[in-house]
Each structure stands twice: as structure tokens, then as C-alpha cells.
Symmetry: C2
């Protein structure tokens, strides 16, 4: 490959990576807004997340198209090809994080319309902040192709799962004690579930980074094995 073509290829690749970061920033914003809307009963904020989900979808379609074009026109070598394919997978997870944020926002809108009082859903504040940070850090690891960071962030997912389990146990106890709280508790469970899935998708992004850099498929390796191999 001549230097000229290689430079063009790199420029195109950088442009696509930048678009992934733009998409990631928008998705992160939606996660944060959806949680705030739910906890604070802010229907205007919730409406905005629902209304603007199409922007995330449009970015996914556009980036996907660009990746296909790059492969078709540039015919990249195996390692560059892996990077492009990794981007295609990353945006699929980002788009699905956007869907989960939209679900939380729709719930926030519905509850705000029902006139639920504010500060009702404080349980999800912590897990929401946790997965938003996971997503933010996963995007950072993607931008810098930082394997060490990626392994650490992927490990956070276990803590998110534990938080989720704790919320579940707490709510089941509450429902048993006070059956009138069942409908509300189920709503909290749905929101927590959506947030927990955002943790899963953020972990997927970290695994793509590790896979790409280490050239090894770690998607089905346990976390302990990963830590052993990459952090010790």
C-alpha cells in the first residue's frame, strides 16, 4: 500500500473513530438524562431523550455505511480490517444502550404523567451513575485503545450486577411487607434492569478493545482469566 493511500485510509479511519466518539457522547448524555428524568420526575427531560433517540440510530446507520465503504474501497489488511469490524460491533452496542436509555426515559415520562411525586426512584440513582461512568470510561478506553483500562472497566460490570441484585432483594422484601408498593417496585426493577444491561453493553465494548489489541478472543473468557492474563 503506498504512503499516499495509507494516509487517506488513516484519515478516513480517524474520521470514523471521531464519529463513534460523537455517538458515544450522545448515548452517554441520554443515559444520564434518562436517569435524572426518572429520579427527579422531569417529563421534559424524558421527552427529549425519547424524541432524540432517532439521532443515535441515524449515527449508527451512517457509521455502519462508512465502515462498509472503507472495507470495500480500501481493502484493508487483516489488522486494519479487525479495527473496522470492531467499530461495527461497538456501534451496535452503543445503539442498544441508547434503546435502554429510551426505555428508562419512557418510564420516567409515564410516571411523571401519572403525577408520581418526585424523589420516588432514588434507588436507581447510584446504579445509574455507575453505568454512566462505565460507559464513559469504556469510550475512553476505545479512543486510546487502552487494554489495561478496558480490563478494569469490564471488571466493574460485576459490581453493577451486585448492585442490581441488592436492589432486587430490597424491593422483594418491601413488596412482601407492603403489597401496595408492588406496582412502584416493579417500575424500579425495570429501570434497574435496563441500567444493568447498559453495564453489559459497556463491558462488550471493553472486550472488543482487548480483543483487537491482544488479538485474542476474550469475549468468552472469564473475568478472572482476563485479569490474570492482562493485569498481572
Amino acid at each position: 500500500m503506498s504512503v499516499h493511500i495509507s494516509q487517506q485510509f488513516n484519515a478516513e479511519l480517524d474520521a470514523v473513530k471521531n464519529q463513534v466518539m460523537t455517538m458515544g457522547g450522545l448515548v452517554e448524555n441520554h443515559v444520564q438524562s434518562a436517569c435524572t428524568a426518572l429520579v427527579e420526575g422531569d417529563s421534559v427531560l424524558a421527552e427529549r431523550v425519547v424524541d432524540e433517540d432517532f439521532k443515535i440510530n441515524a449515527l449508527e446507520v451512517a457509521i455502519d455505511e462508512q465502515c462498509t465503504n472503507i472495507i470495500a474501497r480500501r481493502q484493508p489488511t487483516a489488522s486494519d480490517l479487525r479495527l473496522v469490524l470492531m467499530i461495527v460491533k461497538t456501534i451496535t452496542d452503543l445503539e442498544r444502550i441508547g434503546d435502554e436509555a429510551e426505555k428508562v426515559a419512557k418510564m420516567a415520562r409515564e410516571l411523571a404523567e401519572l403525577g408520581e411525586s418526585k424523589e420516588q426512584y432514588v434507588e436507581i440513582r447510584h446504579i445509574g451513575e455507575h453505568v454512566r461512568k462505565m460507559l464513559h470510561d469504556a469510550l475512553d478506553a476505545f479512543a486510546r485503545m487502552d487494554v489495561t483500562a478496558a480490563v478494569k472497566i469490564a471488571a466493574e460490570d460485576e459490581k453493577v450486577d451486585q448492585e442490581y441484585e441488592a436492589i432486587m432483594r430490597q424491593l422483594i422484601t418491601r413488596m412482601m411487607e407492603d403489597p401496595r408498593s408492588i406496582q412502584r417496585s416493579i417500575n424500579v426493577i425495570w429501570a434497574a434492569r435496563a441500567l444493568e444491561r447498559i453495564g453489559d453493553h459497556s463491558k462488550n465494548i471493553c472486550e472488543y478493545v482487548i480483543y483487537l489489541v491482544k488479538g485474542k478472543d476474550v469475549r468468552h473468557v472469564t473475568l478472572d482469566q482476563m485479569k490474570k492474563e492482562f493485569l498481572e
Copy 2:
């Protein structure tokens, strides 16, 4: 591209497609077994699904690797390239259906160990059968690249969502009437949720088929628009 190379390419592509069908068959079997294990309290069957999930993961890794190699060595044209990229996405969804089946199987195992009596989870029998059929038909549509079938199967997902909502309403009512049923009801809700997600993933596969054949991104188009465009 010479006829010779083109024939080799087609043979490789057919081999990959066959592997996708093998993987799909295994995933379908896991969905069915997991549901049966839960409804009939069959811990041996549940154990088998959990133990053999690694086979699905291994198939995903192997097919993913083959797809990368085909693109790198054969440098397919835009339309062939789209097919290979579509296969990469399809196996990601199949792998995640396998994960959902594993979750249902783990729940079945746990409940069987707790000595829950059989026929406890009949509510999920119908939705389980529905999503298994959706997956089966989606794989058929993939094998034949049948857009008309794909649109119809994607439309089934709405019915699955409705079934899921009906199960939810029924269980919430039951929990309110009898708080002792809460833990059990939550279990049914988890299983139904996992099955509903299998419907989502099967719909994704159908959308890839439509996208590939129609050359249009239908992933973010509403079902009504799809029906209008492709069925009328």
C-alpha cells in the same frame, strides 16, 4: 474476479452459512430445552443447557474468525461484503439468544434444587414456544434470504411483546392478591423477560435479511412502514 476465484469464494461463503445454520440449530435447541426444564422442573436438562453454552460461544468465535479471513483474503465486492458483515451481526444475536437461554436454564436448575413442584411455570410455556418458532423461522428466512418471510416474522415480535405484557399484568395482580406469591412471580417475570428478549434478537436477524436484500437500512424503520413497503 476470475470464475475460479469466484467459485472458491462462493464455496467458502456457503460453508460459513452452513455453520451459521448449525449454530442456529444449537441455539434453538437450547431455547426449547431451557423452557422445558423450567416448566417441567427438569434439572438434568437445565444442567445440559448451562454446560453446553460454551459450544455456542465457540461457534461464534470460529465463524467470526472465518468471516474476517474471507474479507481479508477474498476482498469481496460491496454486495458480497455486505453479506459477510451481515453474518457477523447475525452470530452476535445468536450468541446472545444462547445467553438468554442459559439464564432461563440456570433459573430452572436453581428452582429444581429448591424442590419447587413441577408445572409451576406454565405461564411461560406459550411465550417460550412462540419465540422458539420465531427463531426457527428467522433462521429459515436467513437461509433462503426471504424478505417477505423476514418482514412477517419481524412483525411477530409485537405479539410476543403483547404476550409478555399480559403475563406481567396477570402476575402483578396475583402478587397484590397474595404477597406470598411474590418470589415465585418474580421468577416467572425474569424468565418471561429473557424469552421476550429472544424475540427481539430473532427480529434483529430478520432485519439484517431485509437490509441485505433490499439494500436499505430498515433497522430503525417502524413495522408499519416495513409492511407497507415490502408486503403491499
